[in-house]
């Protein structure tokens, strides 16, 4: 990835010359939650004109550190200075007043309110107690033109796309006169063209003497946008590098504290016979609106088909219908020679299908049950875990112990409740459960969303192994890099239809991006 000129120029400032005064400075910040130390004695600074990337594994403490800077979390110890002046009583209100703005991973927007109302919330315009929206409107219009945005100020936020909602968040920050903008994994939900736009906005913002903190798990993005990179590990800063003087490989090993081993992409032969056949599938979403429209898709043995698309284009519904969690309004799903009973997940499991659900917590695991119990959720009735019709806890525990070991799940034992695990380890539990039955078909939805590089690579490696063993795999992901890295064949979904298909080795990023935004041709 090319390093932009602006980024390279900015890198020279903070690193090397001591004359440049930081916009904000955090020193010896410690924060713990009950028994977890999230950050320990962290020093961190943001300089004018720089885009500073914050990297680290899941749970390294990136979000926590930034929440402390924003005054949203109260640190147990440490100090924050804004242009040399300490913040005595940190709170979001105080942070905003001092020019610090944070855009959280889960947007802080009020969906039924208009763009304008969201932007001015807390900084309302008008005389006395009354609201004067016109005054805010003028200021919003000026901001929009300065940053080349054109959102309709009267539009209700819930009607906007995720990318547009992020723009509302940015406008909100600019409206309050942000000098330091913190963005927590902002690109996780964007399509490639939106990422380009976001980067342009961030560069414009930084070039005006402001600072940006950019959190991401995607190393190539970090290399492209940032001028300096700070790596956190286990709540401590382990490195600060000028972007121009480091490599993704070095960063990855800094994050995990050792070399990251990439797995071989393919060892077995090419695709075999068709296993999963989806034909003419149609289904509605929760609101009763058609979400999957006449989808045909065949996945072969030893093949990973990646389904790319912006979230909300029917991928989730497709995955649910295929697994029998949603009743289709037409079409059929066949595994091998068996036609699945629509709307009946047990027939899918019996036919050898496994799923990695999009929402780990809501539809993947029971957070208050033990790991061992979670691991048998989909085959608890198989007889393997029963003795005289009752659950055989001894066998369930041994099964748990074996999988914890096999899948490197970081937990003290099979009796630990799932709720106490980190995101990456939750995903490993799901993986262990679905893969231990040696499925013929795997439907994986966003399997690495929010996971760090190491965890993501582990999951990808497992998918490769399953594919080489002979499984037919459907990979649904909004992350184009993941689709490109893992799939053998790529299809793109747009508004419930498959609008494009291409073998992975001939796929071009721009073409996929166009398909994802509905441009077919």
């Amino acid at each position: 990835m090319p390093v932009s000129e602006a980024a390279a120029a900015a890198a020279a400032g903070p690193i090397g010359s001591a004359s440049c005064r930081p916009l904000i400075e955090m020193s010896r910040i410690s924060k713990r939650f009950l028994d977890v130390v999230a950050t320990r004695d962290v020093d961190f600074a943001v300089f004018p004109g720089e885009i500073c990337a914050l990297l680290g594994e899941n749970g390294a403490g990136k979000t926590t550190l930034m929440n402390v800077l924003f005054g949203f979390y109260t640190a147990d110890s440490g100090e924050i200075r804004v242009q040399g002046e300490p913040i005595a009583t940190p709170s979001p209100k105080e942070a905003i007043r001092r020019g610090i703005q944070m855009i959280h991973q889960h947007f802080a927007l009020v969906p039924p309110m208009s763009v304008l109302e969201n932007v001015i919330l807390g900084h309302e315009t008008g005389a006395g107690p009354f609201l004067d929206l016109d005054e805010g409107l003028a200021r919003l219009a000026a901001l929009q033109s300065r940053f080349g945005m054109n959102l309709d100020p009267a539009a209700r936020v819930w009607t906007l796309s995720v990318g547009e909602q992020q723009k509302v968040e940015i406008l909100k920050a600019l409206y309050r006169g942000a000098r330091v903008l913190i963005m927590d994994e902002p690109t996780a939900v964007l399509v490639p063209s939106e990422i380009v736009e976001l980067f342009k906005t961030l560069r414009t913002f930084a070039s005006q003497g402001n600072g940006v903190v950019f959190i991401s798990h995607k190393l190539n993005e970090v290399m492209e946008i940032s001028s300096r990179i700070v790596v956190l590990r286990n709540g401590q800063v382990v490195a600060s590098r000028a972007t121009a003087r480091t490599t993704p490989r070095e960063l990855a090993s800094l994050m995990v504290g050792g070399e990251v081993v990439e797995r071989a992409r393919r060892s077995g032969g090419g695709p075999g016979d068709p296993v999963l056949e989806i034909s003419g599938l149609e289904a509605s979403n929760d609101k009763g609106v058609p979400a999957v429209k006449r989808v045909d898709l065949t996945v072969r043995q030893r093949e990973i088909v990646g389904i790319a698309g912006v979230s909300g284009n029917g991928q989730r519904e497709l995955a649910e219908v295929v697994f029998g969690l949603r009743t289709p309004s037409g079409g059929s799903v066949t595994v091998g020679a068996t036609r699945l009973v629509s709307g009946d997940p047990s027939s899918s499991i019996a036919a050898g299908m496994a799923r990695i659900p999009e929402d780990r917590i809501a539809t993947g695991l029971l957070m208050s049950l033990s790991i061992a119990d979670n691991l048998i959720l989909e085959n608890h009735g198989s007889g393997e875990f029963l003795s005289f019709c009752l659950m055989d806890h001894d066998r369930i525990r041994r099964h748990g112990e074996r999988l914890i070991h096999e899948y490197h799940i970081k937990a003290t034992g099979p009796a630990v409740v799932a709720g106490s695990l980190s995101g990456g380890n939750l995903q490993k539990v799901i993986l262990a459960r679905s893969l231990s039955s040696r499925p013929r078909v795997i439907v994986a939805a966003q399997p690495t969303r929010g996971l760090d590089v190491g965890a993501a690579q582990y999951i990808h490696g497992r998918l490769f192994e399953e594919r080489d063993r002979g499984a037919a795999i459907v990979l649904i992901s909004e992350d184009l890099d993941e689709i490109l890295a893992v799939s053998d064949r790529i299809v793109v979904m747009y508004e419930g239809r498959i609008v494009g298909e291409v073998p992975a080795d001939r796929a071009a990023r721009d073409q996929l991006g166009l398909w994802m935004s509905g441009v077919v041709g």
């Binding site: 969906p111 001015i120 919330l121 107690p129």
Partner: protein
Amino acid sequence: MSDDLVGLAFVTGLLAAAVRMATPVVFAMLGEVLAERAGVLNLGIEGTMLMGAMTGFVVAIKTGSLWLGVLAAAAVGMLLGLLMAVLAVHLGLSQHVSGLGITLLSTGLAMFIYRLCFGSPTVPPTVVPFGQVAIPVLAKIPLVGPALFDQYALVYLSWALIPAVSVLLYRTKIGLRLRAVGENPFAADTAGVNVPLVRTVSLVCGGALMGVGGAFLTLAHQNMFLMDVVGGRGWIAVAMVIFGNWDPVKGALGAGLFGLLDGLQLRLQALGLAVPFHVFLIIPYVVTVLAMMSVSRKAMAPAGLLKPYRREDRGG
């Protein structure tokens, strides 16, 4: 009698009764709207009204001033609103449990204080209630004039409060913050809005309105305090908030409808038909349930309702 059924006097009487019956519900409904738009379901409403009814009555008798009674009822409502805020906002307890707890507490407490003041007399003490205030000119309009414009001052106050609460919610800075807090407290918090403060103030102000709604019952509608004086009107107000889709004006229309049915059932009872009077008593409640069933499917509750908000909780 049956001539009256179609007569003008009947219509006027019915309208006047409807307005009177609706007024306590309007006060309480407005109070509940404030609380719920800020994200807190206040089920202490029934008890708060009862405490308002009792306090208003006791203070009016002891001081001889009806208006002091009303103020005292508002003050007690504010205290109970504050208690609700401590439990549900600051301690983050379940809103259902906190609210029902306050209603249970108030039910016992109201009787207890009443007994402390008056013992258990065979003939309950009474006040000289508020008299009607006719508005010049308007009260002379045929048919509706005497019904709508020859009413208690508190009735006019409740009318004035409907647009006032509307303006507060939709046209003021505080209103924008209040709605934001109710929809997404996380968004409000990160915008620098003090979420616990906004919720507390909403509950306290809402409590005042509930208290006054209760006082209307003992100082205008009737002239004495009975244990069942509120009679579920607090719950009706909660229903009206949903019926009105959390909008003060629509909620007031619902309360008016309830008042009309209540007035109608009284009149039907008076006809002396060979039907147990209980059948008439339940009419407004049955219609309320039916109306709720039809509208509540479209109802859009504030998204933050019922969810305690604490900054460092996971999932923000």
